[in-house]
């Protein structure tokens, strides 16, 4: 049978953001996929030339709404290293708390989109309803539902008082119970398993070789998570990466599910160990030198390369986001799959195109 070229995207019901793939198929089996990017490229890295290093925090927060605080944290970590600033202990723990809340809301958002990809609209609404609880917490503690904007060079700008802490802990109990109820609904469902088990397998060797990141990497059996490096307060928390071994769409989903529960545990532990101290220290001087900062975003390892020249403007802000790393791995997964499986497969790498293109 002749080969057919089918355009996937940039507009597609399953894609939250525009991504184009040129799929070459034969008998509805994908042979090749070629990506085309650039639909949401905003040139944010170039803004570093005309925004000083403190203004850049607001820019990097807006690289992506879903992992906003982690972008800011990664950036601030790098600047703090260049300026030799050590942030107070309370700020380290508060960064972890907001980061894990972001991770939860990101994974719940994805789980909703995942359910919607099957046409399971009611489950999509259930997940997003649970997610609203996290958004309320973020709004109450920072003033914003999405771009929480709590990080600054030297620490954090806001505190979480005792009343908010109790509210968060109470909400964690509710979210944990609700997500647990939904887990069996989706993960034990015959149809969901037929659509995900054995689909889009990325072997352990290929995942490592293709430089995959985050749940896409860990679902293939690689025991690696940037939080193991102990940045912020992770060195003082009991943290082990969530790993699955099958490397298929089902494993990637299980990974994200379990990371929601892990995030709840980390938030509880962070609150239990939250020390009393100031929230931020004054960062004196200007950044000079080169630094690489890495954090674990909900989608995986995010790397910032920052170069300062002793002035208030940075020479370079280079951002490598996890979806950028996972796209080559996706192109490795697609060949051999059915055309009907392509939307779900693409969704299981949790693509964030605004992160990818910046």
């Amino acid at each position: 049978m002749a080969r057919t070229v089918i355009p996937f995207g940039p507009q597609h019901p399953v894609l939250p953001e525009p991504l184009h793939l040129t799929l070459t198929v034969e008998d509805e089996i994908v042979l090749e996929a070629i990506p085309k990017l650039g639909y949401v490229h905003r040139g944010l890295e170039k803004l570093a030339e005309i925004r000083d290093h403190t203004q850049m925090i607001q820019i990097v927060e807006r690289v992506c709404g879903i992992c906003s605080t982690l972008h800011a944290m990664c950036y601030c970590q790098g600047i703090e290293a260049l300026m030799k600033v050590e942030i107070p202990p309370r700020a380290r723990f508060l960064r972890v708390i907001w980061a894990e809340m972001h991770r939860m809301h990101s994974h719940l958002l994805w789980l909703g989109l995942f359910a919607d990809a099957f046409g399971f609209e009611s489950l999509f609404m259930q997940f997003w309803k649970i997610r609203e609880r996290i958004m309320d917490l973020q709004e109450a503690t920072s003033g914003n539902r999405i771009i929480v904007s709590v990080n600054c060079v030297g620490g954090v700008k806001r505190d979480i008082d005792a009343a908010a802490q109790q509210w968060i802990l109470d909400t964690m109990k509710i979210v944990e119970k609700e997500v647990l109820q939904l887990k069996s609904t989706i993960m034990d469902d015959f149809t969901v398993k037929r659509r995900t088990v054995g689909i889009g397998v990325l072997s352990k060797e290929k995942a490592y070789e293709m430089g995959a990141a985050g749940p896409t990497l860990r679902a293939s059996g690689i025991f690696q998570d940037m939080r193991q490096t102990g940045y912020a307060a992770y060195s003082e928390l009991n943290f082990e990466p969530v790993v699955e071994t099958d490397g298929d769409c089902y494993a990637r989903t299980i990974c994200r599910f379990n990371e929601v529960f892990q995030a709840i545990g980390l938030i509880r532990e962070a609150f239990a160990k939250l020390p009393h101290s100031e929230l931020a220290v004054k960062a004196k001087g200007l950044p000079n030198g080169e630094v690489i900062s890495r954090v674990e975003q909900p989608r995986g390892e995010c790397l910032y390369y920052l170069k300062g020249n002793g002035t208030k403007f940075l020479d370079r802000v280079r951002i490598r986001t996890p979806t950028f790393a996972n796209i080559p791995a996706l192109l490795e997964m697609l060949p051999g799959c059915d055309l009907a499986d392509v939307p779900v497969l693409i969704l299981t790498i949790d693509p964030c195109i605004s992160c990818t293109e910046r």
Partner: protein
């Protein structure tokens, strides 16, 4: 040693000449390093290209300085995933890569009518 924040110094950054890129990157791959990404900066007269590779959460950086508008070997034959960032560097900084597995001809993000490399302080006209 696990690194989340690394200040680059002469001690932890290896300088390479363009003709040693392939051999050094291949050596690192054989030692079990995975490809993380590449970064690039405009130094005025030249472009600095950094290769970041990781093993067990330990990041190493290899630095290459090349004249503007020059061509260096692509590492796609070693790390297939490098094609995306090499295309980005080609588009933004004008450094061409010899042996790119998938070449977007400078149109990964930017439209055809964008003729100059936007990240260069003194831009290079794109061929």
């Amino acid at each position: 040693m696990k690194d989340s924040v690394i200040v680059l110094t002469e001690e932890n950054t290896s300088e390479l000449s363009p003709d040693r890129i392939i051999s050094q990157i291949r050596t690192l791959k054989d030692e079990g390093f995975r490809f993380v990404t590449m970064s690039s900066t405009d130094l005025g007269e030249s472009i600095c290209v950094l290769y970041h590779l990781d093993k067990d959460l330990h990041l190493v950086t290899q630095k290459v300085e090349v004249p503007k508008g020059s061509k260096i070997p692509s590492i796609c034959s070693i790390y297939a995933s490098a094609f995306l960032i090499e295309n980005e560097i080609k588009e933004h900084f004008g450094v061409d890569f010899d042996g790119l597995s998938l070449d977007f001809q400078g149109m990964l993000y930017l439209d055809e009518e964008v003729q100059k490399t936007p990240f260069c302080k003194i831009a290079i006209k794109r061929v």
